[in-house]
């Protein structure tokens, strides 16, 4: 009887099975916990058109700061927050610029004297069309999708502009 040899291999097998059991347990517990933890990152809020006024209200060529209510879902809270968009006429067409600086997300504001948008954080500078003219921002300001219904002016999601329009 080669007890020694089979004893060793039996023991080795037991070790492997045991390790596998604990590995399986770690996996069975770890995976659901991990997916639970990261899941909010994949919850997408529903896109909604927001009415910000009558089309006739917006005739200025100078960017006008429009403050509107936006419903957001913040975890277990549903809240209404104030948001802003800069609306003006560019070559006869209405444009709604998002004031979120494309560098690190601070809020830019329009400087009438210099006719440009300035970011207070790191000195980003955009012209009135939202194109970068100075500082660190990598891309032009986003523009909201817009539509008109019964004389009302609605804005949608802010979209990237791949190329600068000048």
């Amino acid at each position: 009887m080669n007890e020694n040899k089979s004893g060793v291999s039996r023991r080795g097998f037991l070790k492997k099975v045991t390790a596998a059991i604990y590995g399986l347990l770690t996996f069975m517990i770890g995976l659901p916990l991990f997916s639970f933890f990261v899941s909010p990152a994949f919850i997408k809020s529903k896109f909604k058109w927001i009415e910000i006024g009558a089309v006739d209200d917006f005739n200025s060529d100078t960017p006008l700061e429009v403050i509107y209510n936006k419903e957001i879902i913040d975890g277990w809270n549903k809240r209404t927050v104030l948001s802003t968009a800069w609306v003006f006429k560019s070559e006869g067409k209405l444009v709604a610029l998002s004031p979120i600086c494309t560098h690190l997300g601070c809020t830019v504001s329009f400087d009438e004297v210099r006719d440009s948008f300035a970011c207070p954080c790191h000195g980003g500078l955009y012209d009135r069309e939202g194109n970068v003219i100075g500082g660190p921002p990598p891309k032009p300001l986003k523009r909201h999708e817009i539509k008109f219904e019964d004389g009302k002016f609605l804005i949608g999601e802010p979209k990237d502009r791949s190329t600068s329009v000048t």
Binding site: T18, L33, S39, N77
Partner: protein, 542 residues
């Protein structure tokens, strides 16, 4: 990597020794429960950490955030289910582990310390349960905690202070929740980690107690911790985890509606592992309550902790330990019996009985307890919080809005301790007699009937005399409409049988009119009270 570490720390040999621990003959599947308990602790820690990432410990947000986890997050209901049922499993397996240790005599010399830390850990597990189930801030959470904190309040001398410290002030609310949250996620885990470390260190240092062997007997070592015992532990843990997952998926974690301190119809019951304690509270009434709330539980815990010191029997064989085993069986059966009683004792049924009684009352005239109850309503502190349809009393809680949906038991508890139902309000502790409580209850029940208006328009004189009638317990002997004979004559029709002078004089010396009368003399009452009682006899007989 391991070699790199070992070159610097030189710990490989130590670990090897730990893993290679030789196990005495007879150790095996019966010894998996400690590992299962440790596994459950780690699982609770893991699920708890992730749940805490989505939890807000404020009365406004707690329930919302838990419901967000439950309904909006991927696998949220499963993770909550694991944590919820994990606590029950934790209790079950620490108890089995404790009983196994008891049966195998493993608490005896030299392992007394391991046992003591084990009992401490068991209490920490219960403390986790207690602090944990306030956190969802649903009805059960809230009301179970109200009761728990009031139990703490029954402790002698410092009870009141302890209760206020635990709840963080006069009321159960924001600070209570943050206190319990911190206890549950910081204090108790740290204490438990420390106690587990000591418990496991002691076990590793002393080795597993050879089953049923006396210290002087020769012990054979047949297997090793790694992989023999770890394999068995692993299989058992895997099995338990699968069953636990089944519970989490099939039953899930309950989430009742958000805590409502004004809801008085709720019948709170604690988690099953506290049902024996819950039932114990019901056995001891009034001023003896401390026996059920503090004394018996404390004796129970001390009896467990000190077990190795008063059980001097050195034998580890079952046949030599009949007394110990009998006592433990009796203790377990008591706890089990109380748990079953607690689980099956249904209070809500009583409230359905009341409704029938109320309907029966509709046609009869107003009864003295109801009138006396209204007098008490006006003259005790009820009106500070209550009003009746806006016209009687300045409080904000309209009795007409809730009339009829409270059980008698609830009413009695509310009258004897208003804070219990309204923990957010500071109410003067009631000092009502049992008779007064009964009167208030009768008054409240009559409010829900069509005779409400009649009850609310009775003159103050009648109310005053009805209260005297109740105070001197006239109703104990005299009935009015009830056909059952009382000890005294039925008062219906008494004014037809006798004139006013007779009735008044009868109070002074009943025996003068009827030598067999057992009615006591009321000649010590002031004249105006005697007149009022005589008037009242006329009122109820009209």
């Amino acid at each position: 990597m391991i070699n790199w570490l070992d070159e610097r720390l030189n710990m490989r040999e130590g670990f090897k020794e730990l893993l290679d621990e030789p196990l005495p003959e007879g150790v095996g599947w019966t010894h998996v429960f400690g590992s299962i308990s440790l596994f459950l602790f780690l699982l609770q820690a893991a699920t708890g950490i992730f749940l805490s990432m989505f939890y807000a410990p404020t009365p406004e947000a707690a329930h919302l955030s838990v419901s967000y986890v439950q309904n909006d997050l991927f696998l949220g209901a499963f993770v909550r289910g694991l944590h919820h049922w994990g606590s029950s499993f934790f209790v079950v397996f620490t108890v089995i582990h404790l009983l196994r240790t008891f049966i195998y005599s493993a608490y005896k010399y030299p392992r007394e310390l391991t046992w003591i830390f084990g009992v401490i850990l068991f209490n920490l597990v219960l403390a986790f349960g207690l602090t944990g189930y306030l956190l969802p801030w649903d009805q059960k959470a809230y009301w179970a905690t109200v009761v728990t904190l009031n139990i703490a309040g029954t402790a002698p001398i410092l009870g009141d202070v302890i209760q206020k410290i635990l709840q963080g002030g006069e009321v159960i609310g924001s600070v209570t929740l943050t206190h319990f949250y911190s206890l549950h996620v910081i204090v108790l885990p740290l204490l438990t980690l420390g106690a587990v470390a000591i418990h496991v260190f002691l076990q590793k240092r002393q080795g597993i107690a050879p089953p049923f062997k006396s210290p002087d007997e020769e012990v054979k070592f047949k297997s090793r911790f790694w992989p023999d015992q770890l394999f068995k532990d692993g299989v058992a843990i895997l099995l338990i985890f699968l069953i636990l997952s089944g519970f989490a998926i099939i039953f899930g974690a309950p989430l009742e509606k958000m805590a409502d301190p004004t809801d008085s119809s709720y019948v709170p019951k604690p988690e099953w592992y506290f049902l024996s304690m819950y039932q114990l509270q019901k056995i001891f009434p009034g001023n003896l309550e401390i026996i059920g709330t503090i004394i018996i539980p404390t004796i129970g815990i001390l009896a467990l902790i000190l077990l190795p010191f008063y059980d001097k029997n050195p034998s580890r064989k079952l046949k030599d330990r009949k007394l110990a085993l009998t006592l433990m069986t009796a203790a377990m059966m008591t706890v089990g019996g109380l748990t079953i009683l607690g689980a099956t004792d249904d209070r809500p049924e009583e409230s359905t009985v009341i409704v029938e009684v109320q309907e029966g009352q509709e046609s009869s005239r107003l009864q003295p307890p109801e009138l006396s109850g209204r007098y008490l309503y006006q003259n005790e502190t009820c009106m500070k919080c209550h009003n009746i349809g806006g016209s009687h009393g300045e409080g904000e809680y309209d009795l007409l809005k809730t009339s009829g949906d409270k059980s008698v038991i609830w009413l009695k508890e509310h009258f004897s301790n208003p804070t219990l139902a309204q923990p957010e309000k500071i109410v003067e502790q009631g000092s009502l007699t049992l008779d007064q409580i009964t009167d208030l209850k009768s008054f409240y029940l009559r409010l829900s009937t069509s005779q409400r208006d009649e009850l609310l328009t009775v003159t103050q004189e009648v109310l005053y005399s009805a209260n005297l009638y109740s105070q001197y317990k006239c109703g104990a002997c005299h009935k009015i409409d009830d056909p059952e004979p009382g000890f005294g004559p039925n008062l219906a029709g008494v004014t037809l049988r006798h004139d006013r002078e007779y009735i008044y004089d009868h109070f002074l010396d009943p025996k003068k009119f009827d030598p067999n009368s057992i009615m006591p003399k009321f000649d010590w009452l002031p004249k105006e009270e005697l007149n009022a009682l005589t008037d009242f006899v006329y009122y109820i007989d009209k």
